[in-house]
């Protein structure tokens, strides 16, 4: 369904911006160093913050002595939890979920520390150098309370409790159930399963977290420039925590150098820098260094999934059950809670498949690590990895081709809307179409025959498929995080033509690399009848719209775009009304395009500038009542939101000598609805797949049993670089969604499909050796060990 206006006569002639491969208008400034990030702000004589971070995983703070630090050159103030206790209210990541304990969020650790890297004290000095010098002079005595590093240990009897008030290390527990999974499983012709794990990952945005707060003495007001993708949420939370009304607390996300979720939660440092600005009546700056970013920004994944899928003899999946342990780290995050990542795993485990009965149980377990939070794909990279591995295991057990078993289980076009076993409803999306398009583009049959040849030569060549579906652009009926009380279901667009005829479109969304300045301008240009280059998009500024949240959960094209379309419609009517006066024509005969209002079939036209002048600056031409402000605001709520889906196919070769995996082919067929800008869509897919390759082959945060981070630098935390990312082919199955504009969200999908497709390809490559893949990342070391074990096993058999 497409709720766009029916085509009008001039639509066919008019150049369309939506759908055109327009180059990103933000790129010239970002690529030539003219962008302005939070750290680029230059407030008057700013002070600099540095944080002393815990060296202990779990310990009581018995003494902090800051006297020497305070006396150090250039130091203005040293803050600890005790010294700021009256300056704020703790922020509580509330949720209506039962079996959930909300850990309060404090700017500095109070009483005890719960992970290595947690901020304990803050030094404020005239330079970052002097601040870091002073950090070394702070003395802290810790009384160790016993590290809790592995989640399996955290749930054992007698494990030290991170939060005494919770009474358990299980911070959240949920179960989803449909049908009689036990008896369906029993009736299954084959059952496949195993223990699957995806280790902990760092989102690793290129720009580390960065905050600049500008203090305005005149009215005790502050402006926080934050590298956040949720500036609206940050504004509302700090407003409440510091008891500061919104008109004295402006939060701006200027240019932001990537987030991938790591800048999508409220951070203790964000609260602290605002507290410090008010206490000292000064502007302050802080930018995390890479070590701080890796060890204190929210982290990703870290789940262990015991899962079993039952199939009937025809390869139809009839039952699915899973027990998930999510290693959520030491605290809940605001606003998403610690349930966000692990609960999403069980919500999405049935995927795009029609599985009759389901039981998915999840526990989010506290450990001495930084909190997990949103990360591109949230939960679904893991749920897809598990479900797609189970599909392949089922196919193998039944002797069915992996492509065919998916075709038999995917929701078919005529079956939408379809409610999967976990309760999620998929709207009409090209599930089967993506599968077919990916198989055709990859040359699936030819790949299989290449594989047969390779195997004859003793080479380890494998093909992996992953199909998935995700909810995007979700409206008010579904909370982004379970039971969360804030409104994530709407976004506002405010479009104004000023007295010079210039068009400004303000949004609450907050691009941190998605190119929304370009895509939203494309939509506004088309729907307002303006020229693309005349539209300025403002976003990420809490002063521009009354309420907003930001960009996350693949929502901005759907919600921002939908709001833009509605606001344009209202403003376009105003333009036509004015133009009908100026052109002395019937409103219905007026068409607006190219920045002009034109009487259809004539050469009579007025420009936006002439219209603006008549409305604002001219007291004679228009009757008073016709001088309506050329502005329209619309808050759009898609209510349910929409589905996006894709199939990824990877072909890999494993080198038995080095145990390295080489990706020889990569194809993505995706349905993101109506495409606003194909260059941006392709870029999002490429970037997402690159991060998925990271999850599949490279990236891993390693904490030892004492809770110390062993991979805290970019030498040890290995991300894919250009040579490790293959060329990929991206095919678009463009089926319009039911929401305004027909868009679907698509910023995360690449990361959801890639780990599963690559895992399946590796398992397929190694299947002659009897090796299965159940843990990611599949590093060369792990492949080496699996191959060694397989050798031992086959030796044992031949004996």
């Amino acid at each position: 369904m497409n709720s766009d206006r029916p085509a009008q006569p001039l639509d066919v002639l008019r150049p369309r911006n939506v759908g055109a491969p327009i180059r990103r208008t933000e790129d010239p400034r970002l690529l030539t160093g003219r962008g302005e990030y939070s750290a680029d702000r230059k407030p008057d004589r700013p002070l600099h913050l540095a944080f002393l971070r815990s060296s202990q995983a779990h310990a009581r703070i018995t003494r902090i002595d800051t006297a020497a630090a305070l006396a150090s050159p250039g130091v203005v103030e040293v803050l600890t939890a005790e010294s700021i206790v009256k300056d704020f209210k703790p922020v509580i990541p509330f949720s209506r979920m039962t079996n959930y304990y909300a850990t309060p969020i404090l700017p500095l650790a109070a009483g005890k520390v719960r992970y290595v890297g947690e901020a304990v004290a803050a030094v404020i000095a005239t330079s970052r150098y002097l601040a870091e010098d002073a950090l070394e002079l702070i003395e802290i005595d810790y009384e160790p309370l016993g590290a809790v590093s592995r989640p399996e240990f955290a749930v054992t009897e007698g494990a030290p409790l991170l939060h005494d008030a919770a009474g358990t290390n299980v911070l959240v527990a949920r179960e989803f159930k449909k049908g009689d999974v036990a008896s369906d499983s029993k009736a299954a012709a084959v059952r496949v399963g195993g223990r699957f794990e995806v280790t902990r990952k760092a989102p690793l945005a290129m720009e580390p977290r960065s905050y600049t707060v500008e203090y305005e003495k005149r009215r005790d007001a502050i402006t926080l420039y934050t590298s956040s993708n949720i500036p609206g949420i940050v504004r509302d939370a700090i407003s409440e925590s510091l008891d500061l009304p919104g008109h004295r607390l402006r939060v701006v996300a200027p240019d932001v150098g990537g987030s991938f979720g790591s800048k999508g939660s409220l951070y203790p440092e964000e609260i602290l820098i605002c507290i410090a600005a008010r206490r000292l009546r000064r502007s302050l700056k802080w930018t995390a260094d890479r070590l701080e970013d890796i060890s204190s920004s929210s982290q990703a994944f870290a789940e262990i999934v015991d899962a079993e899928m039952g199939f009937d003899a025809n390869g139809i999946a009839i039952s699915l059950q899973a027990d998930v342990i999510g290693d959520v780290g030491a605290y809940s995050i605001y606003p998403w809670t610690c349930g966000l990542e692990p609960v999403q795993v069980v919500s999405f485990l049935p995927g795009p498949y029609k599985i009759a009965s389901y039981r998915g149980a999840v526990r989010g377990v506290a450990t001495c690590k930084p909190p997990t939070g949103p990360y591109r794909g949230v939960g679904r990279p893991i749920s897809t990895f598990v479900t797609e591995r189970l599909m392949d295991l089922g196919a193998k057990a039944l002797g069915i081709d992996p492509l065919e078993i998916r075709r038999r289980n995917l929701v078919r076009p005529e079956e939408f809307p379809y409610r999967i076993a976990s309760g999620i409803i998929w709207d009409r999306t090209g599930f089967v179409e993506c599968l077919d398009a990916a198989a055709e583009t990859a040359g699936y049959r030819e790949l299989r025959s290449l594989q047969a040849d390779a195997r004859k030569q003793g080479r380890l060549f494998g093909i992996g498929i992953a199909s998935y579906a995700e909810l995007t652009g979700i409206g008010s009926r579904i909370a982004v995080a379970p039971g969360m009380p804030i409104n994530t279901g709407s976004e506002t667009a405010k479009i104004t033509i000023d007295s010079t005829g210039a068009i400004t479109a303000a949004f609450g969304v907050a691009s941190h690399g998605q190119g929304l300045e370009t895509t939203l301008a494309q939509i506004v240009a088309d729907d307002l009848g303006a020229r693309f280059e005349d539209v300025r998009v403002i976003q990420g500024d809490s002063d521009e719209v009354p309420m907003s949240t930001g960009s996350y959960a693949s929502r901005s094209a759907v919600l921002g775009g939908g709001a833009a379309k509605h606001a344009c419609r209202i403003l376009s009517e105003k333009i036509k009304r004015v133009a009908s006066h100026l052109l002395e024509a019937n409103q219905d005969d007026i068409e607006v395009f190219g920045g002009k209002a034109i009487v259809l079939g004539t050469d009579r036209a007025v420009t936006f500038r002439q219209i603006a002048k008549a409305v604002y600056s001219d007291m004679k031409t228009l009757p008073v009542k016709a001088r309506e402000e050329l502005s329209a605001t619309y808050t759009y709520d898609p209510i349910n939101g929409t589905t996006a889906a894709a199939t990824h196919i990877a072909a890999v070769e494993v080198d038995p000598a080095t145990c390295f995996v080489r990706i020889v082919k990569y194809v993505v067929a995706e349905d993101c609805g109506r495409i606003i800008n194909p260059l941006i869509v392709d870029g999002q897919v490429h970037g997402g797949v690159a991060q998925g390759i990271g999850a599949a082959l490279f990236e891993e945060l390693v904490y030892d049993d004492d809770g110390q981070l062993l991979s805290a630098s970019l030498i040890d935390y290995v991300i894919p670089s250009a040579p490790e990312v293959p060329n990929m082919e991206v095919v678009h199955v463009e089926s319009e969604s039911g929401v305004e504009g027909g868009f679907r969200g698509m910023g995360e999908g690449g990361t959801i499909g890639a780990p599963a497709a690559i895992a399946n390809a590796i398992a397929d490559a190694l299947s002659p050796l009897g090796i299965e893949v159940s843990l990611l990342p599949m590093t060369p070391e792990r492949i080496f060990r699996l191959m060694e074990q397989a050798k031992l096993k086959s030796r044992g058999k031949s004996r």
Binding site: D133, E292, A657, F698, I715, V718, E724
Partner: protein, 286 residues
């Protein structure tokens, strides 16, 4: 991540640099390309009292033939070595290895003197200096002395120099060989090696006259495998030669474990690379 306070001097002669190090009384540190030193400073893992910047000293950057050797100035950047036609024709194993040295931006700044002095056990130039049997010319308060590469590397990130000494140039003998190979495996192109081997072979029609072998990534310093060299000179060549060589190399080292690779995996890699390298060296038509 800001360095602790230090003084900075930028002498224009080696003599002045040595004087500055003497004056620093053991608290001095030499800055060349800075590709390893600056991160260590920023992490405050090293806290010199004085940073002695060599970059203003003229005449320390050169690549020139000197009899049967090639001399390279300590401030010569990796990129210059990588692109030098002289290196390509006279020290081909080094030329092959240079493209594995980190990334272009780092090769543009990093220097050979700095890389040798830093003594990373998984860096290419220290290994090559062992492979070629290079001699380092070192200047200190008492003047210049020559240190053989095999005496230079003491431990991981530790060389044999006194705190006042500076590497000024390195001489690499041109080896005689009939075939050679350089093999390296790193997690990503440009990363520190998980394992690497350099091999050159002099051979008759059916025997190996002598072989030269250096490896890295498998111990606290790069290693020249002289015992294997001894065992492999005079052996006759057949189809099994690369595999026998591989077994000998593997059994002659005991690799370390770290976050990226267990000792078993490193050993396995080294064995595979050794076989591959010997195969290449034996088939090369020179």
């Amino acid at each position: 991540m800001k360095p602790a306070k230090f003084d900075y001097v930028a002498p224009t002669t080696v003599d002045a640099a040595v004087e500055a190090l003497v004056a620093a009384n053991g608290e001095g540190k030499v800055l060349a390309g800075g590709q390893s030193l600056l991160p260590l400073l920023n992490f405050r893992m090293t806290r010199p009292g004085v940073l002695v910047d060599l970059n203003g000293i003229q005449g320390l950057s050169f690549i020139e033939p000197r009899g049967d050797r090639i001399a390279i100035g300590a401030l010569t950047r990796h990129r210059e070595i990588e692109q030098s036609p002289l290196i390509a024709s006279k020290l081909p194993v080094m030329a092959a290895a240079m493209r594995h040295v980190a990334h272009l931006a780092i090769r543009n700044r990093g220097t050979i003197g700095g890389s040798l002095s830093h003594a990373d056990p998984a860096a290419e130039l220290p290994m090559l200096s062992l492979f070629y049997g290079a001699e380092l010319s070192v200047q200190g308060p008492a003047g210049r002395r020559i240190v053989a590469a095999e005496d230079f590397f003491v431990d991981a990130l530790t060389n044999c120099l006194e705190p006042e000494e500076i590497v000024v140039e390195i001489e690499f003998p041109m080896l005689a060989y009939d075939g050679w190979a350089f093999e390296e495996v790193a997690r990503r192109f440009g990363d520190f090696a998980l394992a690497s081997i350099a091999v050159s072979v002099r051979r008759g029609s059916s025997t190996i006259d002598n072989v030269r072998i250096a490896v890295m990534g498998v111990a606290d310093t790069p290693l020249r495998l002289k015992a294997v060299e001894g065992k492999f000179s005079g052996v006759s060549i057949d189809d099994r030669t690369p595999d026998r060589f591989s077994e000998l190399v593997m059994s002659s080292v005991s690799a370390n474990s770290d976050l990226h690779a267990s000792s078993e995996y490193r050993q396995h890699l080294l064995g595979k690379l050794a076989a591959r390298a010997m195969r290449t060296a034996l088939t090369a038509k020179e």
